[in-house]
């Protein structure tokens, strides 16, 4: 059973449940765009999948294995936070090799993997640079390379385009889309912007108040929104301007 399966997940903070009986399936080789407004439970869902929050109820199954109670470091899930979470004290190569280093992979193997990923991400020549000197797009590529180095079974991206300036957004998004199409794993991209759903749009899930309200392709959702709220969520805010 490849892919990610969430079965009846209830999770939250203390007595307050943010996610209620949530169901979600993301098959392998699929990029799911999880769309929702602030407070809809997107971050809680990411935290639950990564293991930061343990669900009160339900199961998380990844690549055929139940990971609900596993600690974060044993889940094989790469997580890209909104700010990319690069380690400022390490160089580009040091960041990419980090996951291999803590797993005790040999220096030689680390160098080989890093060189391959640098080339793949068009970052050759940047290996000794400090990550703080890089542009937003370059930082994102380093973070992606670091995430891929450990060969994860699932990749989670939290608002990956929100820190990218408008001028380079299309270029970065295209790079991401091409990269995702080459990966064999499920990918969840969380966003609150309808444009991201439109761009990556084959599989979109709209999250409202802790549940997946509707799922389908962007075009399907746009054509047949289940609620007026989803209809509003999927159109540009400028649409009402005459």
């Amino acid at each position: 059973m490849e892919g990610l399966f969430l079965r009846n997940i209830t999770a939250g903070y203390g007595d307050y449940d943010v996610l209620t009986n949530l169901q979600l399936e993301v098959p392998a080789r699929t990029t799911l765009v999880l769309l929702g407004v602030s407070g809809s439970g997107k971050t809680t869902l990411l935290k639950t999948i990564t293991g930061i929050i343990k669900p009160k109820k339900g199961d998380i199954i990844l690549a055929g294995k139940t990971i609900t109670q596993l600690p974060i470091e044993q889940r094989s899930i790469s997580y890209l936070p909104q700010n990319y979470g690069l380690f400022p004290h390490l160089s580009v190569a040091g960041n990419i090799a980090y996951g291999l280093r803590v797993r005790g992979v040999s220096q030689e193997e680390q160098k080989k993997t890093v060189a391959g990923l640098l080339e793949f991400m068009e970052l050759s020549g940047y290996e000794n640079r400090s990550v703080t000197e890089l542009s937003g797009g370059q930082q994102q590529r380093v973070a992606l390379a670091r995430a891929l180095a450990v060969k994860p079974k699932l990749m989670l991206l939290d608002e990956p385009l929100s820190s990218i300036d408008q001028a380079t957004k299309f270029e970065v998004a295209t790079h991401l889309k091409n990269l995702f199409s080459n990966l064999e794993i499920p990918i969840i991209l969380v966003t609150h912007q309808y444009e991201d759903a439109q761009f990556f749009g084959a599989h979109v899930a709209v999250m409202v108040q802790g549940v997946i309200e509707q799922a389908g392709s962007y075009d399907e959702l746009r054509a047949h929104p289940k609620t007026p709220f989803i209809k509003k969520l999927l159109i540009p805010f400028t649409a009402g301007i005459k």
Partner: protein, 265 residues
Amino acid sequence: MRAGAHRTSMIILYALGSLLLAWFLIIFFYQYIIAIQKIDKILPVFANPRILSALWISVSSSCITALLSIFFGVPLAYIFAVKNIRYKSLLETLMIDVPQTFPPVAEGIILFMMLGPDSPFGINIAYTYLAIVLAKTFVCTPFVVSFAARKFRETQTTGADITAKTLGASESQVFWTIFVPIAFKDIIAGTALCWARGMGELGGSLIFAGIIPFKTEDIPTFIAVNSSALIPALAATILATTASLLALLSFKAFTKERTTWKGFF
């Protein structure tokens, strides 16, 4: 406010700041001005074995205090910053804020009652070198704990620890490869202040370790007992303040140079 009033308020602002700076600079450099005036009397005192012994006791006990502060203080800072423990705010206040405002003499009395001749634990280390170190540790360690905890908290808010865990790092690896290297400069800065504070600590040592020349007499206690004989006291003051200044400047230069450290593992 009109342009003229703006200008006047800025002049007052700069004047107030400059006055305070001048006052501190005068106090610091006045010792050297007096020393130059009395150079023929001061110079022989620097070779006084009692002063040299006091300087050695001050420097060495401050170094040991600084090392102990890192050894115990960094783990405690990690617990304060990362772990959810009950009464954390109260414990942090007791550990970090109270020792810095606590009268050192009172601390000396408590230590003397606890670990002196009438110790309920049967441990008597009063009037020993160890007593100096313990007295200094109480007032100096909070610098390391507070500097390290602040940076650990900042690191945690960036999510670097969670990212490291998703990449396969255990909690111990996250501590050694993320928290400590990122906070390295702050730990060094806290240690530098801890050491410098140790060089000036008087009250606790005075009560708990006493003033035994060549055994427990350090520079601050030497100055305290020789304040009527101004020349030896001035010589000791110059030694202590100059050593502290040089050490703090060296630490700053070191941390400026040392920008990256990969950490262990």
